[in-house]
Amino acid sequence: MSAIKPMPPVAIEKPKAKVWNGARAIAETVKVADVDVIAAYPIRPYTGIMNALASMIADGEFTADIIVADSEHSQFEVVKHASAVGARVFAGSSGVGLAFAAEPIIVTALSQLPVVAAIGTRALDDPGNFGMEWSDALMFRDFGWLISWAKTVQEAADMTLVAYRVAEDRRVLLPHFIALDGAAITHVATPVVPVTKQQATEFLPPYRPPYRIDPQDGPVTKAQHIAPSLIGPEERKTIDVAQKRSKQVIAEAWKDFAKYTGREYTPFLETIGMEDAEFALIGMGAYMKDLELVASRLRSKGHKVGTVRLRYVRPFPAEELINALGGVKAAGVIEFGYSFGSPFGTGSLYHEVATSLYEADAKPTLLDFLFLGGREPTVEHFTQLAEKVIESAHKKPQKKTYWLTLRGEDI
């Protein structure tokens, strides 16, 4: 259970930026991360990652086995068991594909296998919908997976490498999802500074599972059926402790990542303009870029608006969030996931934020702004909602939740 302490480089490698979409950028990181086994099954919008990896393997850019699975269920079974044998693995999916794979996905965490998988977030059926929603990724909030959320293609590429380091750390040993907002990250090309092979090799130690399924390691029996009275609660507590420990490991990993690549990230929250903010816009993912633009425009008009972006939903950075929102009069949660029939008809992220703020000394007015069903939001929507937040500080809002892209009455 010793901490990983790699030696930082003397001089940081600065490769030239490439123009890559999110799918390609993640594939490039998977390539340099020395991944051994990849399992693919197509579903939009994540598929491009596998297309890119398949091309790289076909062209001999790196050595890995890519399994073309018969379903998402098989896909996640393949990587789970390859990981148990000692291979570094990669998988991914979107929307209903994740729902189909729910069983092996859940088991992977409870078996403590450090699978890394990408989610190109997508609205769930029915009807079939290529739009972006968070409901697919947030389905897996409760089972032990670490879940990080990227704002940019660059961050998605970097998060992929850090994910392996955190997931495989002996203090954690949990699988890791990297959530990418469908289309907004997966399909949008931007300049990206690649993680180099040398950086990846130095930053990421080889994967060594503690109890391999391999005759070399003796007769290990894993995931045997048990009587619940034997180790039921203790096994669950083990996952719980691993989640709690992961916070320190994540913080260490991002600090080290900066030493190797020169790219600095605060581990859990990205806050902009929050030092003196009276109003906060809280969210995740690619649309935070637009919310940051809206906040800066409002600032130039004299409104003290800041943004708080969550980089991880699991582990959820509750203390950091309470600290960031200290002194704020009103805040809005901007989100693309929902829970039908939930308290006050609020979204999935709202529940997490509200639960955290319940422990805060001063509670700001908290509003919920929902973008559901995949209809594309605009800067105008974000401006409207920010104005609602500002207004709520001196005028009691009529309601808590707003469906912003909805046509017709928001009842």
């Binding site: 051994d36 269920h73 789970k80 399924i213 391999d214 029996t221």
Partner: protein, 319 residues
């Protein structure tokens, strides 16, 4: 290649067991006996994958003991096909990349009929389409979901009563679907090197088939009929006898397909009437004489195709 006989007589069976004590299977459990024989034949350099089923639940124990003296990993009920591909892929890739010593390691999936013929059918088919060596899918077929309390699967024979297909006043037959022939399905996969059927009789047949499969140089499947006293309502002491009767009545056909070459392993001469196999089993006790005649007739018809296949040296689909 693969018609070799590794175990010529009972004295040559290795004394070491890799499936041992520390489990709570029923008295007279056919699958447990099968597991013991299969693991003996596979030897120490083997990884077992256990999809959910009797050989998962009943092989666990209240005292956290394990019956496996080789690595064993549970996989989900429908995950057997894919899990084995994950293991085989990891081993091959790690060896290829120099991360693990080069070595022959067997990957054996012990999947029940539900795990392989029903919920894991698609994954099994995927697994059989790859070219990993020393990859063996065993279907331990006790002809129903036994550990959940005897529910019909797609390999439950016509006329068997199960809790989902009970024989009643309006539906007197019980299960009216015909048993799915998984060995035929497996043989339809072009990469498959070896397909066989087996049961607990004749002695050594199953062991030699496991040996041939693991040395066949590609993915392989053995469909093994294994009697279940609990679900068949039979006397635990009759398990092996029932295996023998299944073969001697022609109800269970022993054959192999070695790289597409068909070989009929046993011809019952004379074939016993299927009544001898059905009568000792409580699950068939509701059947009338005419129903048993019907089953016997079906066997008679089907055997024409097995004889035809034997003559041609390649499979002829009997349905």
């Amino acid at each position: 290649m693969s018609s070799q006989v590794a175990f010529k007589n009972i004295k040559e069976i290795p004394p070491v067991d890799y499936y041992t004590s520390g489990r709570r299977t029923c008295a007279g459990c056919g699958p447990a006996l099968g597991y013991r024989i299969i693991s003996k034949a596979a030897g120490p350099n083997t990884i077992f994958i256990g999809p959910t089923g009797c050989m998962y639940v009943a092989n666990a124990h209240q005292f956290l003991t394990s019956p496996y003296a080789v690595p064993w990993h549970h996989t989900q009920l429908g995950g057997g096909g894919a899990a084995a591909i994950g293991v085989a892929s990891a081993l091959r890739t790690l060896m290829l990349k120099g991360k693990r010593k080069l070595e022959d390691i067997n990957v054996v999936v012990m999947g029940g009929d539900g795990a392989m013929a029903d919920i894991g059918f698609s994954g099994l088919s995927m697994g059989l389409s790859y070219d990993y060596q020393r990859l063996l899918y065993i279907i331990y077929d006790n002809e129903a979901y036994m550990n959940t309390g005897v529910q019909a699967s797609s390999t439950t024979p016509w006329g068997a009563t199960t809790t989902f297909t009970p024989a009643g006043k309006v539906k007197p037959i019980g299960n009216t679907r015909l048993k799915k022939n998984m060995a035929l399905v497996a043989a339809a996969h072009p990469k498959v090197k070896y397909v066989a059927t087996a049961t607990l009789w004749p002695p050594l047949d199953l062991m030699n088939k496991v040996h041939r499969a693991l040395n066949a140089g590609g993915p392989t499947l053995i469909h093994v009929l294994l009697p279940c006293p609990k679900g068949w309502f039979t006397n635990p002491s009759e398990t092996v006898d029932l295996s023998r009767l299944a073969v001697e009545t022609g109800m269970w056909v022993l054959w192999e397909s070695i790289e597409g070459q068909f070989k009929l392993n046993y011809r019952p001469k004379p074939r016993k009437h299927v009544r001898e196999y059905l009568a000792p089993q409580g699950r068939f006790s509701h059947l009338k004489d005419e129903d048993m005649e019907k089953i016997d007739k079906m066997i008679e018809e089907e055997w024409k195709f097995w004889e035809e296949s034997a003559k041609l040296g390649r499979l002829v689909v009997p349905y």
